[in-house]
Symmetry: C2
Subunit: 438 residues, 2 copies
Amino acid sequence: MSSTNLTFANRDAHRAWLASQARLPAGFRVGTTRFDFTPVEAPKPARMTITLIALDRPTPDFAAVFTKNAFPGAPVIVGRQRLAEPTLGAIVVNNKISNVCAPGGVATSERICAAAGKLLELAGTQVLPSSTGVIGWTLPEPAIVGGLPQAAAALASGSILPAAEGIVTTDLYPKIRRADLGGGSIVGIAKGAGMIEPNLATMLVYILTDLAVPRAELRAMLARVVEPSFNSISIDSDTSTSDTVVVVSSGKVPCADFAAFEAALADVCRDLAEDVVRNGEGVRHVIRVAVRKAASVELARALGKAVVNAPLFKCAVAGNDANVGRLVQAIGKHVGAHAPGTDLSRLRARMGGVEIFAQGVFQLDPTKEAALTSHLRGAELYTSKPTADGIFTATVDYPPHERCVEIDIDLGSGTAEATVFGGDLTHEYVSENADYRS
Amino acid sequence: MSSTNLTFANRDAHRAWLASQARLPAGFRVGTTRFDFTPVEAPKPARMTITLIALDRPTPDFAAVFTKNAFPGAPVIVGRQRLAEPTLGAIVVNNKISNVCAPGGVATSERICAAAGKLLELAGTQVLPSSTGVIGWTLPEPAIVGGLPQAAAALASGSILPAAEGIVTTDLYPKIRRADLGGGSIVGIAKGAGMIEPNLATMLVYILTDLAVPRAELRAMLARVVEPSFNSISIDSDTSTSDTVVVVSSGKVPCADFAAFEAALADVCRDLAEDVVRNGEGVRHVIRVAVRKAASVELARALGKAVVNAPLFKCAVAGNDANVGRLVQAIGKHVGAHAPGTDLSRLRARMGGVEIFAQGVFQLDPTKEAALTSHLRGAELYTSKPTADGIFTATVDYPPHERCVEIDIDLGSGTAEATVFGGDLTHEYVSENADYRS
């Protein structure tokens, strides 16, 4: 579960809280610019935001993990090369178009880095690029290069909020999480909100810190903390071609306790990951599946993902329908297909603390059904309501609470455990994605 | 593609065609009965249909394949045992409740078989049970046993249509496919319509023939023909706990040509499988993915399923949005996760005959986008239209045509191929499944 248990009454309350979390670590500045353009492949007006994150001084201490999709975007290809560079000085991000398998995409990405670097007195190889948005379209390179001076002119220390707002696509609200420790801070921002089954990962995440953690330690820590955070969530089982998580240290503040830093980094990552789910496309319920006493962490995590990716169970949750038969179906499907030797006779399953399955059979009655329905209603983020023309859009642009649909699966046959976060499957998801590009 | 290319202007035209296909093979009778009852776990009125399929004389020549879900329903557990019995005399099917992991479910199933057997002068072990519907609820055994005499009294040779209508749950229309050969026939019926990723399989399928094919040959043929038919479809990636495909021969007509019989059986299975997709819950587009020049049939089929199970691509298809970036994402996700050694540089992809991807990059322009949109519109089964309260239900109760969204993926690195069928992800699917039990 989130390390926080926040509630927000409205957008203003949420934005005020974001502002309170947004102070940049020492040594960083962010700036953005926005412009209209026309995609080559689909001649309709579109809008793009460029976000620049710049270090006061290039740093050797940065880490990044990228998508495992076999068609990585051009910025991911470039980003993997950047890991071998001695220092990083800036990050340049565009939304709206993801630059995946576009003709000449890598060269375009490199030219944008070079142009950004020139403005910041950096080599292009000191700039990490990211792009997110429609797959298949071509970046409007002249418009981006033309907009970079404005983004550079806007660079300011103080707040990371402009960057958190600049990198989003279909996100309902910006996402910021921070930890303050040892006289410094760790501040992370994330872009969701669809094509989310990080492996790793379906989103863009940038985590900045002024605490001095050397490159090798930072990379080892990132590899560890992404597993229980960004690699344990799934909105829709789709793995983006652009997923990127970057951690950059400006080294301004000595770090006395690496273990405390890693724990704080893990918290920031876990909370951002949960934020990404909570703001997933069309998500009206966050589903948390804790799998315990499994033979391996891999089985526990895969089983949790099988549950949060089972469309029929997700639809039932959307409807506040405690159709736990579909939950058991999802468990049985995964085990039957991927772990057929697993002994399921000791399986115990709970939803919202209510035992629903034990000793090989369902444990249901009308009283329990009512309790389950009440639990589902309590975890709902907002009520679904269509417009007159049958389009469903989210009725909140802030996270009203952090309650989840709580599923506990005890396999009774091992010592490993894992927790996975996912969302329900709603009309809002379909409305969002049946008409995203137009 | 279907071996037929049918179109129907309305329900009556479709029902007339079904009636023309419905003649029972010699040696079989079917009868149904329907009654209201109250589920123990959810005290609301419900309706159940019992379908009996009886042979004039018990036959040793029957075959069946069942779900691989690790929580098989009680009828599947019993059905697997029946395969060892010397003869089969009848099949008893109920809809509405699936009898999965219900306390005492296997004993209940056996008692229902015994009661049906008694009416038909058979041992209970000569009766194959099937149940489909809500998982987790308990069968109303007294009501079922009480209804069996009426179903037995209704037994009639002539038409299989009552059985095709009796076994459905959320299906929009009955499904019948037949082949006439060698003086006999093969007639199959299928129940969809959700929790469909047969492995094998998410549905109930009964195929009756009067052609005499001995048990061993029949079982070997069934094992072969389910792979390119029922094991090559997916509505929602969910694997039911009740999937069952049964083939029964009454042996009334000598079979002179086993190869011709198997080819006809394969056609009936393929067409029924495609029917199940076409009538899948909320399906408004059937998506056919042909994967060619793959390293193995397994890779080809898994890649096809990855495409038809990619939620974002399915949503785009629902919206007649040629968002082929999501198609490539789905391919890349599968290959990245499951076949990372695959060389994708020779991948060529087409939609509706239009080349969209080759030589590592998208091949798109506004003319092609228009052609793709037109192809998607042409494959739409019906237009989505919500009711005033935002509930989406199918506006057809017959299959208007058999056109598909045609995806061709050429991996350029092998000789294997497979074709997979799936559906889009629509508001109708969500409406159906967020409120199925109430």
